[in-house]
Amino acid sequence: MCTYLTEKIAIDGSGKGAQGYFALSEAMVYVDHPQHAPYEHTVNIDFLNPAQGPAARVAVELTEEAALALVEAIRHALDVAPPGLASAAGTPGR
């Protein structure tokens, strides 16, 4: 099935695409057909900077288990780091 459903959020950071690193401004998360992963459906995450064109994109296609494990890993990594250490608001000069 095509879910059409897309979660879109504004993000701040960098990603490495085919042309090297670029600033990221958006992420999209959707459960739909992958382009490459050998499954009928995957959790697809696109890290984007639309201002730099369609190719400014880092794409991942994860199984449900992998996506949930990633969420947990992100939460755990943030839990064990000092609060605010990676926050944009907490960075000097920002």
Partner: protein
Amino acid sequence: MYDALLAETITLTGHDGDAIEAYTARPLTPGPTGGVVVIHHMPGYDRATKEITRRFAAEGYAAVCPNLYSREAPGADPDDAAAAARARGGVPDARLVGDVAGAARYLRGLSSANGRVGTIGYCSGGRQSFLAACSLDLQAAVDCYGAFVAGRPPHDFPVPAEPLLHLTENLSCPLLGLFGAEDQHPSPAETAELEEALTAHRKTYEFHTYDGAGHAFFAVDRPSYRPQTAVEGWGRVLDFFGRHLAG
């Protein structure tokens, strides 16, 4: 038997007079030949869809596949273009109709054309094939597992996919529907709902729902591919176009 084909990327005039990219494949015979507009799936104007376009040419039709994401992502890789189009909310219905109209105009303008043009679309393109056939003067339309012709997506879907059942009375041509019994979008209940609407409006249609197949059973490069179903489905499509477009 002379069986040479020409396949190439062209520019055609789509919705609002916009120049859009398209991929065409056509027999190098004088004709007369029917035309087929191939409407690509949501993952984009990709290699597999271009291969489908060439298949129609090999079967004796002038075929063209407009790049529905030309405006969002000219020249981009198909997957990047699909992501860019998704990020902007997908392809608006009015624009789709305008682009298919442009593709049909291109086909009818070929010196080999017999004037008859049909559409075929896959996945989101299945819904768009039905939409085009309810909006334009066409001679045949094929809907391959298009979701949201009947049935409404959840209210928070950002990609516009309004149900199209209310347009059924405007359907301009015979419709062939090919569906997987295990598909949820469209579900067998939803295709039955469409069938009811077609019957109520006395439209010519034929539906085939295949056991053991879900969504995207024609997609040779995906795990959803079902070889037997795809072979039978291709047979249905060629028989249908043979009756309504050929000659």
